[in-house]
Symmetry: C2
Subunit: 241 residues, 2 copies
DNA sequence: TAGTGGTCTAGACCACATA
DNA sequence: ATGTGGTCTAGACCACTAG
């Protein structure tokens, strides 16, 4: 445990060991991991050191602590995670769950820019999903989602239609791909012909373009998503601190 | 220290005591606060308890720890804080500091909606600052900033012109108002006549509208800011986790 | 009642900055 | 050499959950 190869505090080495097990799927989303005292014995360190490692992992939303019950692997299929990666909120009233309509799900060769962002070779197999989100019956978001073909083998429109809930919940449950964090670039653009047709907005109406890259364990990019948001009665909410 | 009045862990009570002193201005931005052992003695608790209180305050960016040197009151006039509240970045290349041009600085009665958001009475004195930000000489942001009149007595266009650096640095140094966190609502809008004139964009060009409310200690709102961003060569950057 | 995470303590030692 | 924050330990006790 005191390996000189990695010069970092003990609790970070423990953290790394736990992360490795999470990545390997030893403990699945929603399941409890062993207790702090159990882990401390396994790793041959004190409970406080394990605690500090778990503290950081909980802070990064990889684990969730529940007093009296245990520590659990975070899951996208939980109420508390529903709006973490969807920042669109109504100007008035409470946030509501969107209904999703899958417009398309195709396998094709990754265009060069997508390949670059997903760290694939151009021409590698990729999946393109197009979908529309409606809030209270109002078409609001048009998403173009690019995924690497290999880990998402078996993803079809039927599979997407059959699943209800956040997409990342499906990904973690069916494909073992857990989204950890995202980077987004936002800008204002004019609605193009496709947006006019599928969102029912006026030609050239200003739309919010949200360009996202999502990462899984080890900061590996596994999704590129381009969303067009109608922001007439909803807005993108952000907190700075 | 074990007062039964507030039922919360000891370290949170300590945290609250430290926050009170910060709010009272006992320790100013950029200054060091007493050492952990010193504070532990003052408050009659162990060093570990003070440590946990400071941990949380550092996590909220109110304090900054520097190993070997001490713990310091966070300041907006520091390199590391420069881009925390300005999320606009160039599509290519490194972030650059904007140049600010003050277009207007007027004192007037707060309109009803501004008063509501600043928790003032309609008609109370307020300050309206209009400014333009340019990045590498390119006009990019048009800000309308509303502040409560009382704490910002003495704020003038001349004062603003004389100061170089982030606005929040001026606010904390000259007016003792420290911005802690912001809430932002983003949407896409068409450029109006004023934006066309002052930003040099085409009529109805899509712009990113950023509507911000800023809070100081005790979650008291002290700024309402409406920014129009040109997002042709820059974008609003956000991280989700 | 037993097991879990949450708090608090006391003390030892390490890493870093400064004089 | 001294003072600061950073790490690690061991143990006691509290708060919450569930059988």
């Amino acid at each position: 445990m005191n390996g000189p190869a990695t010069f970092s505090p003990l609790y970070r080495q423990i953290k790394s060991l736990i992360t490795d097990r999470l990545q390997a799927g030893e403990w699945k989303p929603g399941e409890a991991i062993p207790s702090e005292t159990d882990l401390a014995q396994r790793f041959g360190v004190s409970q406080g050191t394990v605690r500090k490692a778990i503290d950081e992992l909980a802070g990064e939303n990889l684990l969730v602590r529940r007093q009296g019950k245990g520590t659990f692997v975070a899951s996208h299929r939980e109420a508390r995670a529903q709006f973490r990666f969807l920042r669109l909120r109504p100007d008035e009233g409470e946030a509501v769950q969107p209904e999703s309509t899958v417009l398309e799900c195709r396998r094709l060769r990754a265009p060069i820019e997508i390949a670059r962002r997903l760290e694939m070779r151009p021409g590698d197999s990729a999946v393109l999903v197009q979908r529309r989100l409606s809030f209270s019956g109002e078409a609001t978001v048009l998403d173009s989602i690019w995924l690497p073909g290999a880990p998402f083998k078996g993803l079809t429109a039927e599979r997407l239609d059959a699943y209800h809930g956040p997409l990342y919940g499906l990904f973690e449950a069916e494909f073992g791909v857990r989204m950890i964090r995202c980077e987004e670039r936002l800008r204002a653009v004019a609605a193009d012909a496709q947006a006019v047709e599928l969102l029912g907005v006026a030609p050239a109406e200003p739309l919010l373009l949200v360009d996202r890259t999502s990462y899984t364990y080890g900061d590996r990019p596994v999704e590129v998503r381009r969303g067009l948001y109608v922001t007439r009665r909803m807005h993108y909410h952000n907190e700075l601190s």
